[in-house]
Symmetry: C2
């Protein structure tokens, strides 16, 4: 199978006469969309001429961007490869002759019939974090940028990829006890907020919609640390629980400001400090993009403890797999 | 004062040799950021070569996009012109020689010292909806697109602008009685969700963070209609209240799907149907971009009724204007 580097190289060779890659669309639903958030932020931050789209699949297929054309690449993700809206997005891309890159856990799933390139990823217990959907999505962005405009921090980024698995494993061990304590203290709460910023915000979004709302039926909202002070912070009191992602990198100051406020006016705060959790061994020029993988996996430890304390298994559903919608 | 059309024309004249406008950054906080959401969606959907940024001011100033340079335009908004993060964003733009367009309600406020162009907007009772921040933000996007790549629906868009004020006035009258009933039924709820899609999603975001969380201390989350089925919908039951924006335009199908589900599994649903509220007199090719102004203003009727029923005035704060943060 071709490497991500080879895939992008091949696409660029094919698009040479047409003028290369000018638009990159990341399209998925729910957790898969959240997993693409760091890649979106990477291109928005680091690229000069490339336009980035980050779309829920159903919004995308109902309102296609006019820029989708001969200079576009479509990157979709569906865990089991059968999400109807995402399959339809891939079909439209294929029909229009746009290179379709499919990230899926099941390499022969329905969506792959519309794929020009299939990229499987790791998932589940003992997975390699560097092989996860989030990192694969990021690597596509990094290769696109490096092979077009150039990316001066390319080697440092790859060094980060080589370190992330061990960092996450250590961090998960470190939070074991805290996670159990968190579960004991918060098991009866009806609302839990997540707060984050930068490329790591995608992990706050996923924890909110996929875990608290979907798997635990706890009300939630993922609040951006910078937006917190422009509305949401008025809800803060001594009772309401918040999980704060104190990220490593350029937007840490935003998270610190939120933490300072919470320490004065809230009492029930769980802080996930990326610095303390070991992320800082990754170079400062690229560390922002690794927060998501750290948080997303450290949350797993919390989620298992919470599900156990609440006697509400993470697999419990009332609608998904049960009713048509 | 120059019109928006003249402002964009002037900027393009100045940037002629440098290659015109290639990046447009909308930067603001909270409600002002929400008000820019339709403009972001407009450019993302309609432009081929222009890169759009939509940033919380504090995230922007801590992690400036590399693309900010000689082909960029910076559009910021601050209601009273004194939001520190947004003032700083304008200052950075000015320092780098990027045209800074400031939208503010107070034309001689602190932020205007860094403005190349100041655009005041209407606000408060009896305002002209076509003069509001949201429409001014959109008009900047429309002019930029029309004067660069061209925008075939320009005249239809302007026709929509000429109609929106009357449509909103009629709609606000129409919901008066419903809003009082809503307030009676939902005044004791601890959680109220908003749901929306497309360019109108910004209104769902603003209602969530600025009204429910900030002004009423009610827990909330603005759920995207397409994302609803990929996590959040598992929270749905017969007790939990949802406000659904049934929008007019290309993403209405997403909202209808959410409504169909809610009608089966929820009981406490308030539907704001843009079609019924009169938005369809605006041409179908541009109507999507007017949902936000409709919802944002119809919500005002609901908010006043809710504040009264809860005896919690919309001006109540515990932190803003009271403590340092």
């Amino acid at each position: 199978m071709e490497s991500i580097k080879e895939i992008i190289n091949k696409i660029l060779e094919e698009k040479k006469e047409a003028g290369g890659i000018k638009q990159v669309f990341y399209v998925a639903c729910g957790g898969s969309l959240g997993a693409f958030y760091p890649a979106k932020i990477f291109l928005e931050t680091e690229a000069v001429g490339i336009k980035t789209g980050w779309y829920n699949s159903n919004e995308f297929i109902h309102n296609l961007p006019k820029s989708m054309g001969e200079n576009s690449v479509l990157i979709v993700a569906s865990h089991k490869g059968n999400t109807p809206e995402t399959v339809e997005a891939a079909r439209i891309g294929k029909e229009r002759g746009i290179p379709v890159i499919v990230l899926t856990w099941i390499p022969d799933s329905p969506i792959t019939q519309y794929a020009d390139y299939v990229i499987p990823y790791t998932f589940g217990d003992n997975k390699d974090i560097a092989g996860e959907k989030t990192i694969k999505g990021l690597l596509l962005a990094v290769e696109i940028l490096n092979q077009t405009e150039g990316y001066p921090n390319y080697e440092k980024f790859m060094d980060g990829v080589s370190k992330i698995n061990q960092i996450v494993r250590n961090a998960c061990r470190l939070v074991q006890r805290r996670a159990r304590e968190f579960a004991r203290n918060y098991k009866d709460d009806k609302v839990i907020y997540t707060i984050g910023s930068g490329a790591g915000f995608g992990a706050a979004y996923m924890e909110c919609i996929c875990i608290f709302m979907e798997m635990q039926w706890i009300n939630s909202n993922a609040i951006h640390s910078g937006e917190y002070f422009h509305g949401p912070f008025e809800i803060t009191d001594k009772e309401l629980p918040f999980i704060l992602q104190l990220s490593e990198g350029k937007t840490r100051a935003l998270d610190e400001r939120a933490l300072n406020f919470l320490e004065r006016y809230a009492r029930r705060i769980e802080v996930l400090d990326a610095k303390e959790l070991g992320l800082s061994t990754i170079d400062a020029s690229v560390v922002d993009y690794f927060n998501h993988s750290l948080y997303n996996n450290v949350y797993v430890v919390y989620n298992q403890a919470l599900a156990e304390a609440r006697q509400h298994p993470l697999s419990t559903r009332r609608y998904m797999w049960k009713v048509n919608y």
